[in-house]
């Protein structure tokens, strides 16, 4: 029971971090059709920028500066990079962002080196919020939840209650029609791409000290965020949110399940041993393959519901 409750909280925190990353990616992907491979790299940049601004100006200004810097980089990438390769089709755009991953990754290594940065939780948030069955829940995780919930509300308001939000929404579902109506679609693209990068930067600021700020962090977070986007469905922020929370929970809960498929078969009178056919797979406890479950879920949803959980159009 205690493990269940603690895992629920941890799953929520991890899910919300995933959402912060995935929301930007899903907006870009749905609207521009560009699977931005460099999204994880922007997340990493956000963490490094935050570390640097924390050193000189403190954490709170970092919370503002790092996302803005990432947003500016995003805008620059869109205006001077993506827009130029756009004429050559999606494959060119895909390859372009793929190249960015290496450029950003290498630049970060050259600027900051290979070792993790001592980017720590600010002293003002470094206390246990409450204690649950002897385990402390750090205030910083509460703060992460707060920021991501605030972000969710802000995106929702922006999309549903403002004019630019309406245009973006229209462009999400009917990009051709929106352009035909005379909206400045390139400008909207820039705003969406910069906005997505800004969100990734924000996720970097609060994810950098929740995890560790090092050159490997882009590779570590990149794949799972793609899984979330595909699983949630194109053009749906709600689907993205749902998928993030589900993935967070799946990853967190799978860790505490020590049973294997063989254990489930046992009451039915079927005994599986390690050396039987497929025995190796059937006797592995779920905890050991937990990190692979999201990928498995993505494969299944692509097979049986290609548009994703709440997707509005096929991938």
């Amino acid at each position: 029971m205690e493990v269940l409750l603690v895992s629920l909280l941890n799953g929520l925190v991890y899910g919300m971090l995933l959402f912060m990353l995935a929301s930007g990616l899903t907006l870009i992907f749905s609207m521009m059709g560009v699977l931005n491979f460099a999204h994880g790299s922007i997340y990493m940049l956000g963490a490094y920028f935050a570390y640097e601004s924390t050193r000189f100006l403190g954490f709170w200004s970092a919370l503002l500066i790092a996302p803005l810097l990432c947003g500016a980089i995003g805008a620059a990438i869109e205006i001077w990079g993506l827009r130029r390769v756009h004429h050559n089709g999606h494959i060119a755009e895909l390859l372009f962002t793929f190249g960015l991953v290496f450029i950003i990754g290498r630049s970060v290594q050259m600027a900051w080196g290979m070792l993790p940065m001592p980017y720590r939780v600010p002293a003002g948030l470094d206390f246990p919020l409450f204690t649950l069955y002897g385990l402390q829940f750090p205030a910083y995780r509460g703060f992460m939840l707060l920021i991501s919930a605030g972000m969710l509300a802000a995106i929702w308001l922006l999309l549903k209650r403002t004019r630019i939000g309406m245009v973006i929404q229209a462009a999400l579902t009917h990009p051709g029609m929106t352009a035909a109506l005379g909206h400045n679609v390139p400008l909207v693209f820039t705003i969406v791409f910069a906005g997505g990068c800004l969100l990734a930067g924000l996720a970097g600021v609060i994810g950098g000290n929740y995890q560790s700020t090092e050159p490997g962090m882009a590779d570590a977070m990149g794949p799972i965020v793609f899984v979330v986007v595909v699983f949630g469905g194109l053009g749906s922020l709600a689907g993205c949110f749902l998928a993030s929370i589900i993935m967070g929970m799946v990853v967190t809960f799978s860790v505490v399940i020590d049973t294997s498929i063989a254990d489930l078969l046992h009451p039915l009178g079927i005994a599986v041993h390690n050396d039987d056919l497929l025995g190796e797979i059937l006797t592995v406890p779920v905890a050991r393959i937990g990190a692979l479950l999201p990928l498995l879920m993505m494969v299944l949803i692509l097979l049986f519901r290609p548009r994703g959980l709440l997707g509005t159009r096929d991938t």
């Binding site: 080196g113 290979m114 993790p116 001592p118 002897g134 385990l135 402390q136 995890q211 590779d219 050991r288």
Partner: protein
């Protein structure tokens, strides 16, 4: 016409220089192919090792290398993938390098042993030796042992014996957690085996494998560890998998000892930070405070030089010992011929920088060297990675303490 003739002459000249240059350089250097991850998630480790090697080799070259020649490293990126490492190995053999060195990843090590052995069998006139400075899985000098492979560092079983023997008597319950791949499973087996052998009083409350490099948040594991009530977490996790584990533990205020195998690896101290004070121990060859602890001014100077240059701490004493042995073996063999050097290395004894005896065991090519168990503490004189905390030796085990039986049936080349 004149222009073209000039061009041809220049081309010929540059070709001549290109051909003549390396050939001449090869006369007074001994080149060693060095394969390790220099890109990707584990690049930090490879690049740090490379810095250490260049410092060590500078010292050894300054003293006059083997046969009056100088060592030179030629690096190749393994990306921590066996397939990439084998491509790199092909480049090493194409360049006729007499030695190939590799430190990170037992999976890579296993592939390299096999490839080097096959290469040497097929190309008797272009053989090379595999100098293993960090692929730790014990199997590599047991079932998979090979004449052309020498391991210059303590293997998993030796480390596990050191780890278990140095667990405080007050610890009565342990949680065993390792990464789910060759090395982690190897440590897991050895830990369980030697716990039973040396500390039957200790209860193993859980024995867990975590996906290698895939876990983003260890909080769920921390909840599990807390629920198990273990006093000590015995883990061979390293790099990111250790850093995130300790971070999650500290965040949750988990009261537990961390008895690690590889917490001293680059990046470990930074990520652990002040939270590790007096709670984290690790088993290592050496650390910055050893010279002062053992009153060895020459070694203190070596460490001072390193810290001034790299602004970092020093762990791998075995890298120095490895080149001491290699130099002695090449001098004894009188050449860099792989077979002659291998025979010279077998059974070789050298005294390391701290004055301890190191032996290269002939029967399985495993180095017998001392290990130190140290605690991460504020009261250490020299800190690690500018954290303000450093390592302090609690127990030192000699090479003889860590001599274990082996199951190696080595095939030796004829003649």
């Amino acid at each position: 016409m004149k222009g073209r003739r000039l061009f041809v002459a220049l081309l010929a000249a540059s070709l001549g220089i290109a051909l003549w240059g390396p050939a001449r350089a090869a006369d007074d250097t001994i080149k060693i192919g060095y394969i390790d991850p220099f890109s990707g998630p584990f690049a930090a480790t490879g690049n740090n090792f490379l810095k250490v090697f260049s410092y060590v080799l500078e010292k050894i070259n300054a003293e006059g290398g083997p046969l009056g020649k100088k060592y030179e490293l030629v690096t190749f990126d393994s990306k921590l993938q066996p397939a990439e490492a084998l491509i790199a190995l092909k480049s090493v053999t194409d360049q006729n390098l007499p030695f190939v060195m590799h430190c990170v990843g037992s999976n890579v090590g296993a592939a390299m042993i096999d490839a080097v052995s096959k290469h040497n069998a097929r190309n008797p006139d272009n053989r090379l030796l595999y100098l293993n400075c960090g692929a730790l899985a014990t199997e590599l000098t047991n079932e998979q042992c090979d004449f052309w492979h020498f391991r210059f560092t303590a293997n998993v079983d030796q480390r596990a014996v050191a780890r278990i023997k140095t667990l405080p008597q007050s610890v009565k319950s342990v949680y065993v957690l390792n990464q789910d791949y060759l090395f982690g499973q190897s440590v897991q087996k050895a830990t369980l085996k030697y716990l039973q052998q040396y500390r039957p009083d200790v209860k193993i409350v859980a024995d867990e494998l975590v996906p290698f490099g895939k876990v983003q948040d260890f909080s769920p594991y921390i909840a599990k560890i807390k629920a198990s009530g273990a006093q000590s977490l015995v883990t061979s996790n390293y790099d990111r998998d250790l850093n995130l584990l300790m971070k999650a533990g500290n965040d949750a205020g988990l009261e537990i000892r961390y008895d690690a195998y590889l917490a001293h690896q680059p990046g470990g101290p930074t990520s652990t930070g002040p939270a590790g004070d007096n709670r984290l121990t690790s088993v290592m060859e050496f650390h910055d405070n050893v010279p002062a602890e053992e009153h060895n001014p020459a070694a203190e100077k070596f460490i001072e030089g390193w810290r001034a240059r790299a602004d970092f701490n020093f762990i791998p004493l075995d890298y120095v010992t490895m080149f001491q042995m290699l130099t002695a073996a090449i001098n004894k063999a009188g050449s860099t011929d792989a077979q002659k050097v291998a025979l010279a290395l077998e059974g070789m004894k050298v005294t390391d920088m701290m004055g301890d005896e190191n032996i290269m065991r002939a029967e399985d090519h495993q180095l017998l060297s001392p290990l130190r168990e140290a605690v991460f503490t504020r009261s250490a004189k020299l800190d690690a990675e500018k954290t303000g905390l450093g390592w302090k030796t609690e127990t030192k085990l000699s090479g003889a303490d860590l001599t274990l039986p082996d199951t190696c049936k080595m095939k030796r080349p004829a003649s």
